[in-house]
Symmetry: C3
Subunit: 146 residues, 3 copies
């Protein structure tokens, strides 16, 4: 999963809220509390961004803490190739950016993943770009379908 | 389900993000990536909007793709009449607008729908209004309660 | 759970959408339809705000009705102390502010709460501050883990 909010004319994530207005309200807000991003991140089979894409992660993440960077995520994973083509999983959760392994919940799915529950763990492989904000994430889903 | 973002002084869905700012960042963004709508759509028993209302669908949808119109939805269905009055279902999912039958996941509920899982399928019956953006949707929920 | 949107320089909830723009579209919108708040609310063991904190509720709530105050919530509860430290629960739902006991669905969790389903009920203990908008909520979670 490749999240590139600072990618020139084609970022994969866009901040959409009136952050400046929020900032004025708080005067001191170092951790972007109140900023919501909408994202469309490609999922690739291996970690290089040019590796074949097999799906998308699409939804929102919001910064939800005054004390550290914590992203509340709400999104859908859609598989676009292979056996599970067209199936989806929904992901919900909040994790501090500083946590080495992030864990979110799987909250339902469609197609092969109907009734899915479980967890999705994410590990940041590398950070790059301005502010070290762009990231490649290695995700692993544990899915229960009964 | 009647979604009428272009309904003069009483739209059922309102765009709330600073789309123009996002647009500037992207320069070319034909599919509204970054635009979040908040909606309060009536649910009627038959397809005409004047048919009796039995509930509301209330939450957000966000456009989450640069390549086509894809709406990520996150909302609650509240039943307001009959046997299931006061019960709710939560819906999550992402679907391209162009897909004839859209499928979302049911992620929990309350009242009669406690512990609910399942899927909600939606079919667009007709599009009308400016930009053909307003829609009547026929929804069908398959609910598992065990 | 303490929600204090009007707390001077350190509010626990921040309105982030261009409400004025939405308002203009609607001309009459007394119930904030379209306003999204991002929040970081402390969870305390007893109701006084100075009672020991055992976790956070972090996410968003959006006003989703033109006819009454209805908040659509989407957030994660993270336990920060004791046996369940690091475990999380996701909460989804919509409730009129006027409803005495609000009920939301639990949509998955992590750690001890993996596969969690159930409901979360909330009762407003008191309202205070400008517009009586800040609130202390007593929450009770019924969690199913099988």
């Amino acid at each position: 999963m490749h999240d590139t909010p600072f990618n020139g004319r084609a970022p994969s994530a866009i901040p959409v809220t009136a952050y400046n207005a929020s900032d004025l309200q708080n005067e001191i807000n170092n951790f972007l509390l109140g900023q919501i991003y909408v994202f469309d991140d490609p999922l690739t089979q291996q970690s290089p961004p040019e590796s074949p894409t097999f799906g998308r992660a699409q939804g929102t993440y919001s910064f939800v803490s005054r004390e550290e960077f914590v992203a509340y995520v709400s999104y859908t994973v859609t598989i676009q190739t292979g056996k599970y083509k067209g199936s989806t999983l929904n992901i919900l959760g909040a994790n501090p950016n500083a946590k080495p392994i992030k864990t979110c919940a799987i909250a339902g799915g469609t197609g092969h993943f109907i009734l899915a529950r479980g967890i999705l763990t994410s590990q940041v492989l590398n950070l790059f770009g301005p502010f070290n904000a762009s990231a490649t994430l290695i995700n692993h889903a544990t899915i229960y379908l009964d």
